[in-house]
C-alpha cells in the first residue's frame, strides 16, 4: 500500500505515513478550513492498512519492529482534537488486536500545555505515550 506525504501549511499539519518503514508522523498546526475533509481520508487510509495486516494474519510483522507514531504538534483547534482522538483510538484498538504500536508525543521545551494535552489523550485512550521534549521540531 502506498503511503501519504501531505505537506505542512499554515493551517494544516504535515502528514507522513510510510507503511514500508512502519512510521506515521504528524507535524505542525491544525485548524484546517474543513476539518472532516482533511482528516477523514487520512484516518480511513491508516485504518485500511492495519485492517489488511490483520486480515492477512501478518500481526507478527511488527513484533520486533513496532509501528511508530510521532506527534509533533504546535497548535490544534478543538475540532482537530476530535480527529486526533479518533486516530489515537484507532492506534490503541489495533494494538489491542495484537499489532505492536508505539506513540511518541513531542513537545517544545517550556510548552507544558502541549505535554498536558498528550497526557489527556493518553488517559482518554488508556494507552501509554512516550513523551519527548525538544528544542524545536
Amino acid at each position: 500500500m502506498k503511503g501519504l506525504n501531505i505537506p505542512e501549511t499554515e493551517k494544516s499539519p504535515r502528514i507522513f505515513f510510510d507503511p514500508v518503514n512502519s512510521i506515521f508522523e504528524m507535524q505542525g498546526n491544525s485548524r484546517p478550513e474543513n476539518v472532516r475533509d482533511f482528516y477523514f481520508p487520512i484516518i480511513y487510509k491508516v485504518r485500511k492498512y492495519f485492517e489488511k495486516i490483520i486480515s492477512k494474519k501478518q500481526v507478527e510483522k511488527f513484533n520486533e519492529n513496532y509501528f511508530k507514531f510521532n506527534f509533533k504538534l504546535d497548535y490544534f483547534n478543538s475540532s482537530s482534537a476530535k480527529f486526533i482522538a479518533d486516530l489515537l483510538l484507532l492506534i490503541k484498538d489495533f494494538n489491542d488486536e495484537g499489532l505492536n504500536m508505539k506513540i511518541y508525543w513531542y513537545f517544545i521545551d517550556g510548552d507544558e500545555d502541549m505535554k498536558e494535552v498528550g497526557e489527556d489523550f493518553s488517559d482518554m485512550i488508556s494507552f501509554p505515550f512516550n513523551y519527548i521534549m525538544v528544542e524545536k521540531y
Partner: protein, 171 residues
Amino acid sequence: MKSYDVVVNHKGFVDLDIIDDMLHHLKIYLAQKESDKILRKRVYGLSVECLDNILKHSDLLEEEHELIINFPPRFIIEKIAENYLIHTGNIILNENKLDVVFRLEELNNLGAEEVNDLYKRSLANAEISAKGGAGLGLIVMAKTTREKIRYDFEKINEKFSYFAMQLNLKK
C-alpha cells in the same frame, strides 16, 4: 498604573479570510509583545476557538442582513497588566439560547479537574457537526482560562438574540 493595550478590536462581518488576517496580526503582536510562551499560545488558542464559534453563527447573517448593522459580530482582545480579556459577540437563534446557557452554567459550576474530565469524556464522544464543529469549543475555553465564563444575551426580536461572552485569561 496598570498597563493597557487593545490587541484586537474587530466589529463587523467575519469570514475565513478576515479570521486568517486577525490571527496573523495577533500572532505578530504576541511574538513581539508577549514574552510568556505559554500565555502566547493560550491567547492564540482561545482566539481560534472564539472566532470558529463566531464563524459558525455567521450563516444566520446572510438571511438577516440588516441585523449586522446594529448587531455586528464582535471580537476584542484587551491586555490589562499581564492578563488578557477576550470579548466576543454574535447573533444567535433564540431556540439555541437555552442550550448555550445550560452548557455555560454546567462549565461555570465545575472545578478545574472536573472540566478536564469533561473534556476527555467529550473528546471521546464528540460528533462533528455539519458546520465542522466538535462541540468542544466552550469546554476548551473553560479548560484554558480556568475561570468562569461571563456571558449575556440581548434579545433582538422573536427569532434572534445577541450573545456576548467574556473570557478572562490570567497569567
